[in-house]
């Protein structure tokens, strides 16, 4: 038997390319060809009417080919961009135009588009465009959106895009009847995905074939393809979208089409030359998307053991200027907030509000970090009020292992019921306590106190719905060389799909790992796909790849049985050779390449495999060469479509030290217990956790989008927006895995991509509050991120008030 690769730390195949500088990211495409370069004029104002745009003189700049404003767009291109995910409660959904029409609603909104010989010239040309604005009062932040003194969109009363309410049981009644109650106001600020590579698009129109090829740095190539075809009035069959290597996505690249994803192909077609747009860093800050800005109010009723009897949460979601991605983020907060707990009754109401800021679409975690923060702060507050250990209160509220599948009685983001498939939360908590040293912490704290040092410990638990549908597909093709070519439609942004999926295929088909080559995100190879988001790639495409490989295997066995005159059941495939089990090596065997030749009754012989095939005869001479229920070629194709999401879970704990003078916050120990079902490649999963934790540290302690009251993002650079360097993240992360397989897919896997980032705000708030507890009793951390200055100010306010 070939050794199983599933579950092994197989080194990544893509690394060879990347390490040699041979990656192909979108800005590397067509270098050296007769490329033109695009640049975009963006609004410097948060809210204004466009009175006039003067582009005269722009085309006088040598090397400028085109300048477009909204007036130059026609047909579907002149309409607003699509609202990708409508929802009945999104009563006032709004999207921007590819180029602003009459009004701009955030700093960074695209107004004019220039194509020139190079980017330098294109930017020179932008400088010649004159725009007359009539200023409108900007709405910035949840508070001002709620006050609705001014409106972002004239026709959206109260700035409310949507209001959604869900309830399971009578939460308010349960709270009123509960022995104890408390309420909390909790805030999370804006952050963003900020992948190291920004957005980018290249397009080439081929007049000879009437086809458009688009390379774009996206998390959904099939989505972009459909959007481009619709907007440019092309048939889907005329458009190919290729996602090259992507330098990180983290959510922001799932939104589509960006204005440039349409304007670049349009320009390529209009000009008959390939065109490239590569976003610069400032543009990424002000013209892509952000997330996380939410304000929450919690009412909770609980019993003497800390068991939650009723939970009533209201929150306000800042969706920025537009809502292309619908209500996904707040819906996820509202449902995933529950984590591993089962409150007696639950009601949640949210409003999604417009502001004159960059729009909001999912960023790794997608609403879960906010939900986790709310729930875990509530658990901590209950523990504090009852004087109980924080782990005890959590344990009292856990869904128990024998309660799965567990139905929360709510509707999840995919429109399906919120039903957890599996998990072992008490088991996870025990592991976490051991890993971080929860029970030993008081001794450690005393030691530290003797040295005059303040330390605190915190924990946070989450459940993450992963692998949302509707489907993914895969195609497996065995070539006559014996190489196996695999295609799945979703895209890759660093998750090592070329490795993980090859592991699955190698196992299912019985071939050597190095004979398998995986392609993702190329609509020429797999035109039906959804995309890489919501921690769904391993679950969805992993399963699809597995099923497709099994189909190919079936066909291999059928043909080989015929050729070897053996029964299919007696055959095995090892290292790409099919043989009759129990026969000595070399006798009665046939390799996959030869089977591939036999699968295709072609007259022409090209290669060694074809010659080798001549010794075998397959098929019934009395029937047509391709039987009625058969097709030529050694291929397998299949799709995986689950009933519902599969729910991964985990718990993080951290020990921090806060400086008594400077309020500096140091991480002493970080521990993660993680259950994402069966692991395809533990090395890759751990890498995802490391990255998630670092991003979480950024979100909890450093990163915030600093908007001033006029709607200017004042920290739109890496100089000012503090993303963690190595010096800011934990030097070591202790990780322990639990593997409760998902019953929902053939591999038993659950998603792992986003997990690391979900509990960060919650776990740091808990630990920092704990560190301060004996010096500032009652000091509550209710807003994240928290910087040393924030903590310093909190201490001062606390001292003044007590």
């Amino acid at each position: 038997m070939t050794t199983k690769l599933f579950g092994e730390k197989v080194p990544r195949v893509e690394d060879q390319r990347f390490l040699r500088g041979k990656g192909r990211y979108v800005d590397d495409v067509l270098v050296g060809h007769d490329l033109l370069h695009a640049a975009v004029l963006r609004s410097p104002h948060a809210h204004a009417r466009i009175v006039d745009i003067d582009v005269s003189g722009v085309l006088d700049v040598d090397g400028v080919h085109v300048v477009w404003t909204h007036d130059d767009l026609a047909g579907a291109m002149a309409d607003p961009l699509p609202l990708l995910i409508p929802h009945p409660q999104l009563t006032h959904g709004r999207t921007q135009y590819a180029l602003a029409k009459d009004e701009v609603n955030y700093v960074g909104e695209a107004i004019a588009f220039v194509v020139a010989d190079d980017r330098y010239l294109a930017e020179d040309a932008l400088g010649r465009i004159r725009v007359d604005y009539e200023f409108l009062p900007p709405v910035v932040g949840v508070e001002s959106a709620r006050a609705a003194e001014h409106l972002v969109h004239d026709d959206v009363p109260g700035n409310v895009a949507a209001r959604l309410e869900q309830e399971n049981g009578d939460a308010r009644g349960a709270i009123a009847a509960a022995p104890h109650t408390l309420s909390l106001d909790l805030t999370i600020e804006r952050s963003a995905s900020t992948p190291m590579e920004g957005r980018g698009t290249v397009a080439r129109w081929d007049p000879d074939t009437g086809r458009l090829t688009v390379w774009t740095s996206t998390q959904t190539s099939t989505g972009v393809r459909a959007a481009v075809a619709a907007k440019l009035g092309l048939d889907l069959a005329q458009v190919d979208v290729i996602t090259p290597d992507v330098g990180g996505g983290f959510g922001v690249k799932i939104n589509h089409p960006w204005p440039e994803e349409l304007l670049v192909p349009l320009a390529a077609r209009t000009l008959g030359r390939p065109v490239k747009f590569t976003e610069d860093r400032r543009e990424h800050f002000i013209s892509s998307a952000h997330e996380r800005g939410q304000v929450h109010h919690v009412e909770v009723g609980y019993d003497d053991d800390g068991r939650v009897l009723g939970l009533d949460v209201r929150f306000w979601h800042d969706n920025g200027a537009y809502t292309p991605y619908g209500l996904i983020v707040p819906i996820i907060t509202s449902t995933q907030l529950l984590g591993p707990y089962k409150p007696g009754a639950y009601r949640v109401v949210f409003e999604s509000l417009y502001t004159n800021t960059v729009m909001v679409t999912p960023y790794r975690g997608a609403g879960r970090p906010q939900g986790c923060f709310v729930m875990e702060r509530t658990m901590d507050a209950i523990a504090a009020a009852l004087g109980k250990d924080r782990t005890e209160v959590r344990a009292a509220n856990f869904i128990q292992p024998d309660e799965f599948p567990y139905d929360h009685g709510l509707v999840f983001q995919d429109g399906r019921e919120l039903e957890y498939d599996s998990g072992d939360y008490p088991g996870s908590l025990e592991k976490l306590k051991a890993l971080i040293g929860w029970d030993e912490f008081p001794v450690f704290r005393e030691e530290m106190e003797r040295e005059g040092r303040r330390v605190g410990i915190g924990l946070a638990c989450y459940v993450e719905g992963t692998g949302v549908g509707p489907y993914e597909g895969a195609h497996v093709h065995v070539e006559t060389s014996g190489k196996v070519k695999v295609a799945t439609g979703l895209t890759t942004q660093g998750q090592g799909h070329a490795t993980a999926f090859a592991q699955i295929v190698a196992d299912a088909l019985g071939v050597r790992f190095d004979r398998v080559e995986v392609v993702t995100g190329d609509t020429r190879r797999m035109p039906y796909a959804v995309g890489t988001f919501a921690s769904r790639a391993a679950v969805m495409s992993g399963s699809a790849v597995h099923l497709a490989a099994l189909r190919a295997r079936e066909k291999v066995l059928k043909i080989a049985a015929d050729a070897l005159e053996a029964a299919e059941d007696d055959l095995e495939i090892v290292d790409g050779v099919v043989s009759v089990r129990g026969t000595p090596d070399g006798t009665a065997s046939i390799d996959l390449g030869t089977v591939a030749v036999l699968s295709n009754p072609l007259r022409y012989a090209f290669d060694e495999a074809s010659k080798a095939a001549t010794q075998f005869s397959v098929g019934d001479p009395g029937k047509p060469p391709v039987a009625e229920d058969d097709e030529p070629g050694l291929e397998g194709k299949d799709f995986y479509s689950p009933e519902r999401s599969t729910f991964a879970n985990g718990m993080h704990a951290v020990i921090v030290e806060t400086d008594a003078e400077t309020a500096e916050i140091r991480i002493l120990k970080y521990a993660v217990v993680h259950d994402c079902g069966r692991l395809i490649n533990p090395m890759i999963v751990e890498g995802q956790i490391h990255g998630g934790v670092a991003q979480g540290v950024g979100g909890a302690l450093l990163e915030r989008m600093a908007y001033d009251e006029s709607g200017q993002l004042v920290n739109a650079s890496f100089m000012d927006f503090l993303m963690p360097y190595v010096t800011e993240v934990p030097a070591h992360i202790d990780i322990d895995h639990l593997e409760t397989p998902s019953p929902l897919n053939p591999l038993g896997v659950k998603g792992a991509g986003e997990a690391g980032v979900i509990p960060s705000a919650a776990v740091f708030a808990s630990a920092i509050e704990d560190a301060e507890a004996s010096y500032h009793p009652g000091l509550a951390i209710t807003a994240m991120p928290i910087s040393p200055s924030d903590l310093f100010a909190l201490r001062q306010r606390h001292e003044e008030s007590s």
Binding site: G21, G23, F718, Y725, T727
Partner: protein
């Protein structure tokens, strides 16, 4: 009005290239778009992320902060120049590259070229770093994917590999 072009000779990875560029052309753009050496990446164009780091006369430099015309007369090494000749067409991975492969020091790979060049220079100065020194060595480069844990491991492993190969 067209821009004035300057003839420059750039020596990159031991190969001399002649090109005509405007004075304002960044070294990063000249390497990537004029010479087709797209292994050098641009993550911020304001000198903070380190993705564009190349070696200029063996010192790490941010190629987004240098003009191509000011690199004349220097020997430039990019990520493409870090592999070692071993007779094979593509060469074998240099010690730092090899260490990244072994330690899963990269995910999307976008920041990686800047780390590889930075560490190559760092290990020349300090061939046997402690863990703290390894962290210090990469403390000026941003990575959004890996959380740096495996990058620090890679630095330490690279130093071992270099020793083994010596």
């Amino acid at each position: 009005m067209s821009e004035e072009l300057h003839e420059v000779r750039l020596s990159v990875n031991g190969v001399v290239h002649e090109l005509r560029v405007p004075a304002r052309r960044l070294l990063s753009d000249a390497l990537r778009h004029d010479l087709g050496l797209t292994g050098t990446h641009v993550g911020c164009e304001h000198g903070v992320c380190g993705a564009c780091t190349v070696l200029v006369d063996r010192r790490p430099m941010r190629s987004c902060l240098m003009f191509a015309v000011s690199a004349v007369g220097s020997e430039i090494t990019t990520v493409e120049g870090l592999t070692e000749q071993d007779g094979s067409p593509e060469g074998r991975l240099g010690p730092v590259q090899q260490a990244f492969a072994e330690c899963h020091g990269l995910q999307c790979g976008f920041c990686t070229p800047g780390f590889l060049t930075t560490i190559t220079a760092g290990l020349r100065d300090n061939p046997d770093p402690s863990e703290d020194e390894a962290r210090e060595m990469v403390a000026g480069n941003l990575c959004r994917c890996t959380g740096y844990v495996n990058i620090v491991k890679s630095v330490l492993r690279a130093s071992e590999i270099a020793r083994e190969r010596r």
